[in-house]
């Protein structure tokens, strides 16, 4: 039995490759499917089944692409008619070598969510492992705000968890579709190893006194939905996303071509760290630190206009290609060859804004001269913030600029300084001239005030 967990960095999305004998199953494949094709070749087996545990919102599904390059069948839950693959019913099972896969309908995160349990027939028909999609995570439970009607979703999730998933047995290994850091669950553990029994006992979300309390808790959760989710939804339910065996590389552009793209209305997104961006950047560019691409590109970047990139010095364009391909940004049409230095060495205009450490933040705030904008997520505000801060989630900032005053001084703040840099770049791009990004953010603040 070959078992591999494949994680899409940043999205913290887990897909799985499991093979026995001549055949392999892939669960929840990402869009750059060469990973699975290479695994199949390496292990001398054919991918024959692909399972989508649910419609996915945060990345482009890979099942359609994977089917294109293998002789396989796509299976998904029966409660929603994807325009591809086969709808399967509760209780459907199939064999793969000596493994038996059994599919359970487990609505909650979405109506068509399913769970797949896997048994080793050499030992028992009882499962040793379950793929639960976004129903259950290590330390958390699936979001119920994407179903449409909240109350029903939470209630359905409760039933699925307590009547279908947990009854598979304490001994069953948990394979969730997301890990720590995903937007699909706010409190997922940083550890991927767990079992249904461990979660039953120690997952805080499963310690409620009953269904009512559970539903109330779920309905009280605050989640954010990035704008690019809409394209994901459309692509993932229709299977229309463009398909490639390996993602096409993003092209390097010399300065001349890069500027031409800008003249043709391309957005510039600069993937350097916030410290570098602050001191020198291309006018009108956004800043998203590279590791933040999977989680924040979809909040900031246009899906309609062309987009061009400025990469950090040690960055590998092939890696960035994959990050963007997974979230559907096929409109990213190039990066500046040589990076920001190409720009500066040609004596092009350079913009800047400020950064501040805790001492400087305090100084700026004296006499109310500067105001804090806390761009963290609503659930992070619950841990506290600096008194008097404007609470505007990063994803909402561009739409709420009218609430702010271009003539004032602002300090952008997040947990450590990355998202603060994105926020500061949004402000600077919109004509705010007195902007500071708080390096260290609320994490640093708490060092002094906790």
């Amino acid at each position: 039995v070959i078992f591999k967990r494949i994680t899409s960095e940043g999205l913290s999305h887990h897909s799985y490759f499991i093979a026995d004998g001549d055949e392999a199953v892939v669960v929840d494949p990402k869009r750059d499917v060469d990973t699975y094709l290479n695994l199949a070749a390496e292990h001398n087996c054919n991918i024959t089944k692909i399972i989508e545990t649910h419609r996915n919102e945060d990345y482009v599904i890979g099942s359609v692409a994977l089917k294109e390059f293998s002789d396989s069948e796509i299976l998904h839950g029966g409660k929603l008619d994807f325009k591809y693959g086969t709808q399967i019913e509760d209780g459907t099972s199939f064999d793969l070598g000596n493994l038996r896969f059994n599919l359970l309908e487990t609505p909650g995160h979405t109506p068509e969510s399913i769970t797949i349990s896997v048994a080793d027939k050499n030992f028992s028909n009882k499962p040793f492992l379950a793929f639960v999609g976004d129903s259950l995570f290590v330390g958390d439970t699936g979001r119920t705000d994407l179903w449409g009607d909240d109350g029903e979703a939470a209630s359905a999730l409760y039933e699925s968890l307590y009547n279908k998933i947990l009854p598979l047995g304490d001994h069953v290994i948990l394979c969730a579709a997301h890990g720590g850091g995903s937007v699909c669950g706010g409190a997922i553990a940083k550890r991927n190893q767990s079992t249904l029994g461990y979660e039953r006992q120690f997952n805080p979300k499963l310690q409620k006194t009953g269904k009512n309390e559970f539903v109330k808790m779920k309905n009280g959760e605050q989640h954010v939905q990035a704008p690019y989710f809409k394209l994901m939804e459309e692509w993932n339910q229709t299977g229309k996303a463009p398909v490639h065996r390996v993602p096409p590389f993003i092209d390097p552009l010399n300065l001349e071509c890069f500027r031409e793209k800008i003249r043709d209305n391309a957005e510039v997104i600069d993937l350097r760290p916030p410290q570098a961006f602050a001191s020198a950047h291309i006018p009108n560019s956004y800043n998203i630190w590279q590791a933040g691409v999977p989680a924040y590109f979809g909040w900031i970047a246009s899906l309609d206009q062309p987009v061009v990139l400025v990469l950090p010095e040690q960055s590998d364009p092939k890696k960035v290609t994959r990050l963007l391909y997974r979230i559907g940004y096929d409109n990213v049409c190039g990066y500046l060859k040589g990076g920001f230095e190409t720009w500066q060495n040609e004596s092009m205009e350079i913009d800047a804004f400020g950064v501040a450490d805790t001492e400087k933040v305090k100084d700026l705030m004296k006499n109310k001269k500067a105001e804090i904008i806390d761009v963290r997520k609503p659930d992070e505000w619950e841990d506290g913030t600096i008194e008097g801060s404007h609470k505007i989630f990063l994803g909402d900032l561009e739409n709420r600029l009218d609430d702010l005053d271009k003539g004032s001084q602002y300090i952008t703040m997040c947990a450590v300084g990355h998202r603060g840099g994105v926020a500061a770049s949004i402000l600077a791009k919109s004509g705010f001239r007195n902007v500071y990004n708080y390096l260290g953010g609320y994490t640093a603040w708490k060092q002094h005030h906790a």
Copy 2:
């Protein structure tokens, strides 16, 4: 939390690398420790603890080498005084980031065997995972024939399993030191994913009615001990094995140098597949197919004399280097550059013996002209054999040649034909002239007679 299972192919030995925050622990490291050093560098952490779950018999332990190249401490069970590391007592615990490691004495496989449970303090002090060494496997239990006094070992193992390990909880993930194919357990599953709860319910060795039946079963098991185990035992209890950051490569030898080594009494071991060896090989050479090196080299090859190799065409000498380094064959001093063809193209003398498919085997056996030698392991004989076969385990063959007649015709047989090839090479080397290796072996035979 970074969690990696590292498997030594062929030995089916699992070691583990687990890191949280700045630090990493390695459990049961193999001798080529660059694997762990690279993992630590890749994940920006320092290896600070190394744990030997027990003295190991089937490979050279890597803890001494790993300590040499990191700033770490070696821990092992308190019931045996290794000449290195720190003996720890039942109940000792330490933290690594947010993980808590707790060490339990679980004698049985050996007196000093320990189990390490790991908890995630963010959720609970109860463990989510346990490193059990050779106490428990997926689908099997540890050997009890290496302790010294069988009865006591099996009894101790029973107590360790039922009073220490299984009580950790059904929900605990099982991390054993060996997987399917290891000589350290005859019936280990080919799947690495399991939990204590799954084993409690479905491991056939844990379904006995009580301690007596368990002990009886264990004492009835038949296990083999390869001669090289003695060197492993000595090295692993003293920590004397030569240490390198990466294994030194085995040298290519031109024909002249290769022949000089032979004149200087080097053994020749040919790693080609049995079909190739049968039709043409260097006189007086042994045959061990390459994938069989970890499991069978230690039965056949000398640890005292120099050894030289003939490699298959697509073989990577760097890979073979690691296989041999792990089992202590530092006396392998070269391989013939260009492989067997170098030998044949210089018109050197070539030896051969026969192969046979099922039809030919039947033909040879007619009128008792040829006799079968079944070289499988004692536990395999229990599945049946060809009537009238000599049952001589491969590892005993060279010592039992006197029971055979050089003038007779023999057919060597194993499960599929690899070990049969080794056996045939032993006979041919000893002057038997009418030898056939049964290609397909007992697996093929059963196709016709089951």
Copy 3:
């Protein structure tokens, strides 16, 4: 300046990637073009020009595929109208960064052959390097038998060499399209480093007294043309070969599927070494040792029927995929998972033939009982052969079986024993029962008789 020579193993075909500034040129790309796309991504440049020095006969050209995945232009010689790309005239030049490329028509190997010289404008407009295609090799000159009318080709080649190529200057680095071992030149050196000046002085083919002697020599050369050359010719002049960014993998087949393919008329080609094949193989299968695939698959394997493979034990199917993809064998539809052992373990019928070392060959030949078939190439026969041998080039053997007698004993012989194995497999497949492959071949024979 980035300069890379990329060699297709076995074909000994060299392609070149050369980049300066933002752009790269690829000369004579192979079909699996991901190699060049990866190089471009690694070096942050765009492939903008692709050059075919001539129509190629021994592999599928990659220019059409490469253009498909990059924003580039294909250039080739003006004397033949490929159905793709741009015909260029003598003297055309273009710049790439600070490099200047100049294209010269150098007919000889083919009418449309060109040479591209490259200058570094920072230093001089004189070239430092030349891509000469198949006009000139290290130690040899291009074949003139593929042009059509021999006399004219050799004469044209002489003019191209002496009036166009060598006059570029002794100091010019030679970049040929093939290296040692290629069928495109019989005597190419095993070293790739040379200059026009070195060749002018030391290339044996350039030491003739004048044009007449040169033409006579060229016309006296004996070259072979594999049957698959016809498909290459068709594909390479029309650009019709199927195009992929990376070659699709060959599928593993379980025994059942594999046998079904055979029932559906698939040819079986076994890539194991000749020693292994001789002692045990699938009835009716051909043997081509893996490293011989690029050079000999095209002589033996059908391009019309489906083909299935048996791979050696350490073989990487992904590597074999590339070897076959390059020579257009898109009809290879699978390989037997588990290799020959899958066959033998199911007790399927096994065939065999003999092998012989020099002593045995002499023995077999006594009293003219066995006859030698020397399957080497005509130019190899010139070095001598065993007296009385049938000289039948391997590629002609299958068509000349009527000259042989199925009741006789035959010994197949080549230089070392690989092609002898192919030949023996052809004979065995055709019903010859007394066949031996001479291991060591004429190389071994000479050890005894020189």
Copy 4:
């Protein structure tokens, strides 16, 4: 023949691996010798000879280490007694497979410099290739300021070039020990492909009218010698550098350990790009952008004190390890895990200085308020500078701080902004408070004023 050029990035140092038959020679190995050992293993050959073309000044030689891990001999020129290896005389030759190596004494760069020509005996005893060490480069000639007595060196170099090296023939391929960007020659081309004939005709340094003019030119060249050259000299003439098969990794340090190192007097060197460093850095740290490590670390970093690093976000510590290992910085004892963010998130004190684009530079210079410090190399000043600049080479800056006024405003300038960042960090560390690094540097300036 296997021929590989191995380049140490940043140092632009070329070493060479050349093999034929069973054996390989390595010329001018770098210190991390696993590269060559892996090549030998990959190509199934033994390294038997190691050649040092001269004592090297800019990196730690690898010959002693390579000999330690192979069965080989070190050869070097006879005019200097290294404390290791064998001194060889003019005209010594040896064979390697079919290659013949011939060693010529070619003093000039240093007294013991040698050139090794290589012939392919299959074709001629005349060489096809020459390893010339630092005597001749593509587009430049070797430095003559390290010999001791300038006049003699330049004269000797002239004789070696014109009487020994160039006479090998126009057709000979040039293999120099350095490529473009090296400090060992100011004007080396960015292209590695050349021949003696090309250099004879087009190398600007070889176009002088005679020896006198050549000597005058050489003696007029201005070269810099980094302080770490002294250690290189000592280690390379005694062979005393610590030896490892692979370089030991630099350790990650958590903030606590990192600060403890600082308290224990460790220097902090920050490898982030200058834009990031400018806006936020650890007080008292130096800035050297990562790609500048090979060339500038040796000017700035202490060889006596411990040194700790701050790495850029996408940086691979294993790569940095090699860069530092090659130049002997075995005193680098760790890097801050998590990078600068670890510092900022703990609310530690952060320092900053300014950056400026061309407009801002002009603005700052108005009314002589700010002064430019041009830290480029003397030979770069010859291309012009901004009027009124202080010309202080970066390597001299720390010793010439007394010439500057801490109360004044300074703008550091180099060619593009990297070395300007190093310079600004030196000033900031020394208490200068009004410092700006000119992003774009003299390259940007020229856009406006040329």
